[in-house]
């Protein structure tokens, strides 16, 4: 991703600009260096809840006003909370991007946190968690994450624990907001149809006067090295068994990260870069698990993160199959890779796939701006521009070395979701009458 201008305002706010003139659009992102990793026990879920509260109005823009203002212009806006960050964006017709600049400057410091809105949002967020709880994958993911991380803030789900969602106060949330939302803890990114010099002036005009704050200390408790395989088992009503195997993985800025990205491509197929993924039916694990009818699907995921996080493999076990059989087949493939049986042809293929997926990810200004903000947060915006080149540099020896070091049983957590008895008859019938599953 070339042609990026990096500019730091006098209050410490980092600004990245990239002109793209293929459509009459511009996307403005503001990313704060705060995510669920920064939440001590008792306020888990605070970052995500704060994100919701930033849609609940300020004095300048009362609740609901902006939903309509953005739609009226034909734009879109949203936000996302992740383990490492909270980010907000608007994508608008380029001539209206000023509105986006004003919205984010305003709510950086002026969000109201009206007590009634806080209470109303408590119900919404608990409802969001309950919606996730309807899916077996959520229970399994939460348990695996908590088992893999005992100390580091990566141990809890972004949505937070129900106990904290029940008990957190308006003061807890507002304190979290004031501690982390300030220009010197923010990254602003604009991609689209504008003139860079003019856009810098406009950003200076809107953000320059916001005072810097006391930069928050990163809440950081390093995770001790794991010294033996950990296992966790969830038993709940469900339709199928699931397995999640999660290995501790390197941070995004570690050169090992790209080696493991290649490992994942070979095992599970390439990661989508936000422009849409491709199938993974020729990946090693698909062939070992799905073609052999042990599993209905298999997916892998390696996320670029500030601190070492997880490389996860998710398996949907086929009905009637013992999860132990699926796990054994997985281990055979992991052992092959650790022994170093990857070929040059496989490596070349992975690199070609990466070039294609990278091209898909550059079609939208929203996606390009996201990548600049996201990668600047854990290192530098050049991380994404260099993504393909960094993969190109990985050798067969690198792949073997990374697989041997990271894919050790002692470095992993294995989670099983086991559907409890009592639902099987229903599946055999497949009927949809009102008595279904009523226990």
């Amino acid at each position: 991703m070339s042609n990026v201008t990096r500019h730091v305002l006098s209050n410490g706010m980092v600004v990245l600009l990239k002109e793209v003139h293929s459509a009459p659009l511009a996307s403005w992102w503001v990313l704060y260096r705060v995510g669920s990793r920064n939440e001590p026990t008792g306020i888990t879920g605070a970052s995500h809840w704060v994100e919701h509260m930033l849609f609940k109005g300020t004095e300048q823009f009362p609740p609901g006003y902006l939903d309509k203002a953005i739609d009226r212009l034909g734009g879109s806006w949203n936000a996302q909370t992740f383990i490492d960050y909270t980010a907000y964006y608007e994508t608008l017709p380029a001539e209206h991007i000023e509105l986006a600049l004003k919205i984010e400057a305003d709510r950086m410091i002026n969000a109201a946190f009206d007590p009634e809105e806080v209470e109303s949002e408590r119900t919404v967020i608990i409802s969001e968690r309950q919606g996730a709880e309807n899916s077996p994958g959520f229970w399994l993911g939460e348990a695996v994450q908590a088992t893999a991380f005992r100390v580091h803030g990566y141990h809890h789900e972004i949505i937070g624990d129900t106990a904290d969602l029940d008990s957190m106060t308006r003061t807890d949330l507002h304190t979290h907001y004031k501690r982390h939302y300030m220009p010197n803890n923010a990254i602003g990114v604009c991609v689209g149809a504008f003139d860079t010099a003019e856009m810098i002036q406009r950003i200076e005009a809107v953000y320059g006067a916001i005072p810097a704050g006391d930069a928050p200390k990163m809440f950081m408790r390093p995770e001790p090295e794991q010294t033996g395989e950990r296992r966790v088992r969830i038993e709940r009503p469900g339709a199928a068994a699931f397995i999640e195997v999660a290995y501790h993985a390197p941070a995004a800025t570690d050169s090992d990260w790209f080696k493991l990205e290649i490992v994942n491509s070979i095992l599970c197929g390439p990661d989508s870069l936000g422009g849409g993924g491709i199938d993974n039916k020729t990946s090693r694990l698909y062939r070992a698990l799905v073609e052999t009818e042990l599993a209905a699907s298999v997916d892998g995921g390696l996320t670029p993160t500030i601190d070492p996080y997880l490389y996860s493999i998710d398996i949907t076990v086929r009905a009637g199959v013992d999860p132990a059989d699926a796990e054994r087949a997985l281990d055979v493939e992991i052992d092959r890779l650790r022994a170093g049986d990857v070929t040059e042809a496989e490596l070349a293929r992975v690199k070609k796939q990466a070039r294609a997926l990278f091209a898909y990810s550059t079609e939208r200004v929203t996606s390009q701006a996201f990548w600049l903000a996201f990668t600047e947060n854990f290192g530098s915006h050049t991380w994404f521009a260099d993504y393909v080149a960094n993969l190109e540099a990985v050798t067969l020896d690198d792949v073997k070395d990374a697989a041997a070091r990271y894919l050790r049983p002692q470095n992993r957590t294995v989670g099983w979701f086991i559907p409890t008895a009592g639902d099987d008859d229903e599946f055999e019938d497949g009927d949809d009458d009102e008595s279904d599953g009523d226990e």
Binding site: A23, D71, G74, P93, V124, G276, I278, E293, A356, E363
Partner: protein, 431 residues
């Protein structure tokens, strides 16, 4: 205030290149050299409308099964041809048509189209592969049986449309019907319905139009299928006389999903645009419209609450969906019913009309930003006979709608005392 028409060129008859082959295949190409990728999207007349009730899911299984082996490539060969170059092709059955889509780097378009032609024209349905696929489909259906949103949607459709109506059934079929489908069923469906008549393919990306047309012509020009039956008409469902409520209880769930509504317009209905704008007022505009404001914001009841119109060839549902805590199910249903009544009985305000007109017109650039967005829009223009200059007229079509048009459309489709309501959630409360 209505947003100005964008100055950037919209896709229209002057920059979309269209070619029609003798066998009925229509090719539409829109050049875009902003990224290095190319996409295609298209369809042929082989959707769930051609399924019979006791074989529901057949069109869907056939669409998946074509990717399992051809006279030229086995399963691994098909997927290696695509995945080796980071490309993707998918075929899936919709209500009326079997749809296909794909993408690759622009340099790989010949391979992409070669694989597409291979799987559409000469699949062999190898028995072992079909059984494997069937197992995956059955696992998926069983997982969906435990998904409250899926179950609420199914129950809604089954209650809204009578047995025998194609929209009563899931295009995916049921565990029972999918188990019973034979290899002969699959081969026969393909032989009858996959063919060039009224097949459309749209290509968008970093490729010259003439090159793209030649690639498609070489792959499809000699395809013939004289047996393709004509499109069956979608029957008109009888109007509902009173509100009907159905529910399903699932163990181990913590949230209830509600789907409620009525039979909406088809894409061809004269009041389709008026209905979609009325729908936008009710459950889309400004974070899910009036329903979002009432159910999500005022009451804090739901994580999501919105309304949607699914008008296709036939009259699809006009529905409102919400996910709520089980104890709030009845309150949410009451509030949603109030909003339906308001839409029918009280005219929308001038501000609401102009806001929603601006939204529809102003959203075009975002919709058309990606290759996939452009391809999908052109494909819709072709399937529903909207004309290649539809986007040029779009602003005028939307701007011409009046407050009366919206209310008449709402009244035409909705009777607030005769709604179909479906709920799926835990057994304890609300269901």
């Amino acid at each position: 205030m209505i947003a100005a028409t964008p100055t950037y060129a919209l896709p229209h008859s002057g920059n979309i290149v269209r070619a029609t082959l003798d066998n009925g295949v229509t090719i539409l190409v829109y050049e875009n050299f902003a990224a290095q990728s190319v996409v295609f999207t298209g369809s042929l007349r082989a959707g769930a409308a051609y399924d019979v009730p006791d074989k529901s899911g057949l069109s869907s299984l056939v669409a998946s099964a074509v990717m399992r082996g051809t006279t030229k490539r086995d399963f691994l060969g098909i997927h290696a041809a695509l995945e080796d170059i980071g490309a993707d092709v998918s075929v899936y059955a919709g209500g009326q048509r079997a749809n296909f889509g794909g993408k690759s780097l622009a340099e790989d378009l010949p391979t992409l189209i070669d694989v597409l032609a291979d799987v559409l024209r000469q699949p062999t349905f190898p028995a072992a592969q079909v059984e494997r696929l069937r197992g995956e489909v059955l696992t998926g259906l069983q997982i969906r049986q435990q998904d409250t949103r899926y179950r609420a949607n199914r129950l809604f459709s089954e209650t809204l449309y009578p047995e025998g109506h194609p929209y009563h059934y899931s295009s995916r079929g049921t565990v029972e019907t999918v188990k019973a489908l034979s290899l002969d069923d699959i081969a026969a469906f393909h032989a009858a319905h996959y063919g060039p008549d009224a097949m459309h393919i749209v290509i968008v990306g970093a490729v010259k139009a003439a090159d793209a047309i030649n690639i498609v012509r070489d792959a499809f020009a000699d395809w013939r299928n004289p047996n393709q039956p004509s499109t069956p008409p979608v029957p008109e469902p009888a109007p509902t006389a009173e509100t009907r409520r159905a529910s399903v209880a699932l163990a181990g769930k913590t949230q209830s999903d509600i789907v409620m509504g009525t039979v909406g317009p088809s894409r061809y209905s004269p009041d389709y645009q008026a209905a979609t704008l009325a729908n936008s007022v009710m459950g889309q505009f400004g974070m899910m419209g009036r329903i979002g404001a009432s159910v999500r914001e005022d009451l804090g009841l739901a994580y999501y609450a919105y309304s949607a119109i699914e008008g296709g060839t036939g009259r699809g549902p006009w529905s409102i969906s919400a996910g709520v805590n089980p104890k709030n199910v009845n309150l949410a249903i009451d509030r949603i019913t109030d909003e339906v009544r308001r839409l029918v009985e009280t005219p929308v305000t001038p501000d609401e009309l102009s806001d929603n007109q601006s939204y529809y017109i102003g959203h075009l650039p975002l919709q058309l930003e990606s290759n996939e967005g452009v391809a999908g829009t052109i494909h819709n223009m072709q399937v529903y006979d909207l004309g290649l200059d539809y986007l040029l007229h779009y602003r005028d079509i939307i701007a011409a709608l009046t407050i009366d048009d919206l209310q008449l459309a709402a009244r035409h489709y909705f009777n607030p005392d005769a709604l179909v309501i479906a709920v799926a959630g835990p057994a304890e409360n609300g269901v």
